[in-house]
Symmetry: C2
Subunit: 506 residues, 2 copies
């Protein structure tokens, strides 16, 4: 029994024609359905995993196929384990073919006895969560595990080792893993049992010749993808219904918010440099500890996000800060899970990453404009919490700001934009249309705050009718939060106004 | 005099309105002209560079602005210096704002005395080449150098250092650079003189208050971009003429090519595993030496590129190999320099990168279909040589294959594709249309080989009427080339057929 990427199965011409035709038709259907397929091949070296990969690479239309295999070392070096996988999720119509991937590290670590059952299940919870989010986003999961007995593995390795032209196929750890095959077997059973889900079931291939194994795998792929694509096409033809947003009660978050709070010009002039220096010191401390900071800004149009962000950003060297203004998604972004465009922006992180509008678009504009179905935006709160949790686990400090203004203040700012020649581009019909939905947005903001104000990624609501007050307050809140999280106070003299503010508080 | 990103110039309301309106109009024009703008701000800390950056960040429409500042350390870690810059070149309609960037390292290294004049000019040749290629691709360059006297620098640093809230603005090297300011001054003059080009001139700002400096910079930006965009719009309205491709003489490369060369089934069966093992050993040796391998495949439709690539790719672990099938460029790719889509694919390189069709599309399909003007494809040979040179300088081994078949063989393969149900997707009207231009392609291949067969990135022309012969020959040529480049011979027993081949040769 051989498992090499260029294994040629013993199919009759007729059978090969049938299977290859089915595979090509399948790819066409996947493109018609506009869904991504995530195809996972797992198992030991020599079990059929690589042979299946080789066949699929040769037989599928490569233009719609992405192959992903990772060095475990590289994945473990990333502080955010799933970042890489998220960025590599296929675009709709494509098949992403993953070898082992997110199951690889938990499997090896547990089989080697480096993590216990508890830790294994925690890791598998993350696998489940990742797959659930993507499956909810219409990804079709095909997960195949190839088994091999210890005797078969031994035989395979020996055959390879004895042939000077095949030796290279034996991976450094193969013999070790073969010796520990009982352990791998028992870990595998735990993994399969724990991660076999309706939305991402496992298909196990336990015995047979290599040709049998290929036949089983290819037939399963065709059957599963075909069925799921059909289901999806049927679903898509149904028109979703949308609940009306209730706007009858005043938003909770406005209760304690004094929208007209303001500060004097003098206080602004004095406090701004102080807060910048304080923020800089805190960010540099974060850098020393290999931490990164992610800031999220939301708020109605013209609520002053740009102004606050500009002051925050100028508290660090240019190269330490990335600002991402988030507009309507591009075609490519729309063809991915809605979180994908944020993951890709977080792929190469600098010290400070600022999002001017964010993933909360899912529960704000997409909810209100019905770009997302009710089910989609309703489950998005949990998805977003999970996303932010992953960021914070990976040494990110996540802080979120909702800048708020009164409807009258917005009107005044809109009018001002229309009158100033270099600001007219900032105001268009869409802004006026959004303005009519002010109450719906207020409810949506309220729900968002109620459901996503977590300890690890808190919201700060900032009154911004007075821009100077808003800027100073946002920076102060951020500094206070960073001081708490880092348990570090910059050594800076308090200016007179800060002293007053602190006194008032205590 | 202060240079802080949030410097507020002392403009009158009227002047501010004029400048900001001009900037916004400029961005609109740039989008209309569909050209990228590359805006470079250079100079010492405190010279106005950061202040200009701050103003532009606040005043331009951020949706069409990309900011780039690099840690010199990160750039130097990359074996291919310009990879990062290439990947960051703005899409048409956008402004890429770069701080120091490609001039930064040569400047500092020369001012510190770590490189001599020769080395400086070599580095600057690369700056010029990079800018020339982009400018030829219609990028508008705006390069501004802000000067500052030693006394001014000292004063600036002292002021910052004395203020607890501004201290952080002093970079670790600022005082050192201030002490060496004579050296920086003299290096700067050399840089400016050597890289001041028609297509990318320098604008120097030498004195005046910070407000004067901002005024000068902003006015220059507006004037330069406006003029260049107009020029480009005018050019665009002219219809280019195309020379006819001469197809009257037989292609040179076919002279020694025996298209029908073939090998026996037995030789193929024996040699393939041997060559795979040999290639694997060579690639692993390359890996040990931190080298990477880039393979380029060209050839007529159905010339068997996929089959060769599949065999090559299965000579290494899946994770060590990336295959990129290159189809027609996407909208985003079209809106960049034609080399951009290859640079971005080379951003995260694995051991072996294989391009199934390549950057040579510029001098093949784009030449023949008039997607590129005569001037464009004619200068592309040099550009491509420069591109490959950069790759090889950066520890890449670049090898190029032209797989060739006879026109009759293509016809036979086309017909076979039409008859096999799982291959029909591989053949369409376009392929038949291309086939009619067989002679033009032959001339284009010939020109390509004549102009880009370099020592550092050689071409191998492989006869592929017999697929088995083509596969074995391509792999053998690759192995021989790698053995020569690496000066390393894998320790493998020669199979009988290899021995024969070697004997024949000697």
């Amino acid at each position: 029994m051989m498992d090499i990427a260029e294994f040629e199965p013993d199919f009759s011409d007729k059978e090969e024609t049938e299977i290859r035709t089915a595979l090509i038709k399948l790819q066409e259907k996947v493109q018609e359905a506009k869904v991504p397929v995530i195809l996972l091949l797992c198992g030991a070296n020599g079990s059929g995993k690589n042979a299946a990969l080789g066949l699929l690479r040769d037989w599928l239309d490569q233009r719609h196929l992405d192959l992903h295999a990772y060095e475990r070392r590289n994945i473990r070096q990333d502080t955010i384990e799933y970042r890489r996988y998220w960025c590599d999720t296929p675009i709709e119509g494509h098949t992403g073919l993953f070898v082992s991937s997110w199951y690889s590290d938990p499997l090896v670590e547990h089989a080697y006895g480096r993590i216990n059952d508890d830790e294994l299940y925690k890791r598998l919870d993350e696998c489940n969560l990742f797959e659930k989010m993507l499956a909810d986003g219409n990804a079709i999961f095909v997960k195949i595990w190839f088994y091999k007995t210890t005797a078969e593995q031994e035989h395979f390795l020996r055959t390879m080792d004895d042939n000077p032209y095949e030796q290279w196929r034996v991976f450094p750890d193969d013999w070790k893993n073969c010796c520990l095959s009982d352990k791998f077997e028992s870990t595998t059973r735990k993994i399969i049992r724990y991660t076999d889900k309706d939305y991402a079931p496992w298909f196990e291939i336990k015995d047979g010749t290599m040709t049998d194994r290929m036949r089983a795998a290819l037939h399963y792929i065709c059957a599963r993808v075909d069925k799921q694509a059909d289901l999806f096409l049927k679903q898509k033809s149904k028109k979703p219904e949308y609940k009306k947003i209730k706007t009858d009660k005043k938003a909770e978050f406005l209760k304690d918010l004094k929208l007209d709070a303001n500060i004097s010009k003098e206080e602004y002039r004095v406090c701004l440099p102080y807060l910048k220096a304080r923020l800089n010191a805190l960010l540099m401390e974060a850098k020393r500890r290999n931490k990164k900071v992610v800031l999220a800004f939301e708020g109605p149009d013209a609520s002053g996000k740009g102004g606050v962000i500009s002051r925050l950003a100028s508290s660090v060297y240019v190269r330490d800060c990335n600002i991402f203004p988030i507009a309507a998604p591009t075609k490519e972004e729309l063809a991915h899970h809605y979180l994908w465009r944020f993951w890709t922006r977080l792929k190469e992180q600098v010290l400070l990453t600022v999002f001017d509008r964010t993933w909360y678009g899912r529960v704000l504009v997409e909810r209100i404009e019905h770009f997302a179905s009710d089910a989609e935006w309703e489950r998005a709160y949990d998805e977003i919490n999970a996303f932010e949790k992953q960021l914070t686990k990976g040494d990110n400090i996540v802080v979120k700001f909702l800048l708020y203004i009164s409807s009258d203040e917005q009107l005044a700012r809109f009018k001002a934009r229309e009158e100033v020649s270099y600001k007219t581009w900032k105001i268009g019909e869409e802004d006026w249309r959004n303005r009519e939905k002010w109450d719906a947005y207020e409810t949506a903001f309220d729900d968002m705050l109620a459901k996503t104000n977590t300890k690890y990624a808190p919201w700060f609501v900032i009154a911004d009718n007075n821009k100077k007050y808003g800027r100073i307050t946002a920076m102060r809140k951020l500094c206070e939060h960073l001081e708490k999280v880092l348990d570090f106070k910059p050594d800076l003299p308090d200016p007179v106004f800060e002293k007053k503010a602190k006194k008032k508080k205590s």
